[in-house]
Subunit: 197 residues, 2 copies
């Protein structure tokens, strides 16, 4: 069994809010961490947010007798939108998540132009949009509001956002055992004025 | 070139609202019709709603030299949620779409239990949820609010919803050239009280 660093501590705590959370990302795949966090949120009726399936162009399907249809030729498609969306406290939530390996910058080639346009539309229609950026080298994960992301992206002199810029404009997301990446805590503080950041 | 029945009429109209819309579904695949309607809505900045990609479990990927990664073994997965979601006038929108061939009933085996549970959660969190049901035999398409769908589904004496029940509890969706299936017009009237139905 995996020995989770925070397991004992969390189990002995009675209330969720007393969990001590740290902010270090331990190198687990960001997507897996967000997915388990979303499962936690769902189980605790906090929000309803899912990752969209990977878009795939299916070309050939085989139907073997007495067994499930088997896709034997398919290709990855460029996504039209961001990876995650759903609802929190009646508001539409939409975001993309990116993990930055050992580099200190978020390069714009990590995001598609139409994903930026999608986030612009989300904001225009009254939704909440952002990007979650995990800097593995710093073991830190940030939420950067889509408006800031778009501002940086539209600055023709820039090809990337530095770690310092994300740190200055974004919000550090607490990490813990459950949920692994508590981005809703940040969403609450930033967009619902439930607290101060 | 395909001779669209309403083409001339729509082209000679100056304003969108003067389009005469009928309510007959001409047997085109429902999904394709909803997708083109969503593209129309997107292009006209009416709402931002997409179909989620088909969930696929990817098992084997081949990486031929100098060409795109090719998926050579994958299987269809049961979807966790409904097919469509997005945002309209700041509200979270979530729905499933089903086409009923020549039958006069919507059988509950067309929808997964966790899709019903998902729609319940959407409502609980303040979103708008519904089902679009196309009766090909009647050439009619209805929007049925998720609350009604759930009510029928939870009635243990029922295994399906009849055409008449959908007609009585649901709302007929206008069909036209652009958008093909104007479900947002119904959403506006039913959930935003923009008119009377």
């Amino acid at each position: 069994m995996v020995n989770y660093p925070n397991k004992k501590q969390v189990q002995t705590n009675v209330t969720k809010t007393t969990n001590k959370k740290d902010t270090r990302h331990r190198g687990m795949a960001l997507e897996a961490d967000i997915n388990t966090s979303n499962e936690y949120y769902l189980a605790h009726d906090i929000c309803v947010i899912y990752k969209k399936p990977t878009p795939v162009q299916i070309v050939k399907v085989d139907y073997p007798v007495r067994s499930a249809a088997k896709i034997i030729e398919a290709y990855f498609k460029v996504p039209s939108t961001t990876d995650y969306n759903g609802i929190y406290k009646g508001k539409y939530i939409d975001f993309e998540a990116k993990e930055i390996g050992n580099k200190r910058t978020f390069n714009f080639n990590l995001i598609h132009k139409h994903q930026i346009e999608h986030l612009e539309r989300v904001i225009d229609h009254g939704g909440i949009g952002f990007i979650i950026i995990a800097f593995t080298a710093h073991q830190e994960i940030y939420l950067l509001d889509a408006k800031d992301m778009i501002m940086f992206y539209q600055d023709s002199s820039k090809k990337s956002i530095t770690y310092e810029e994300v740190k200055n404009h974004g919000y550090l997301i607490p990490q813990g055992y459950l949920p692994r990446i508590d981005y809703i805590e940040v969403v609450e503080k930033v967009y619902f004025k439930g607290g101060n950041l």
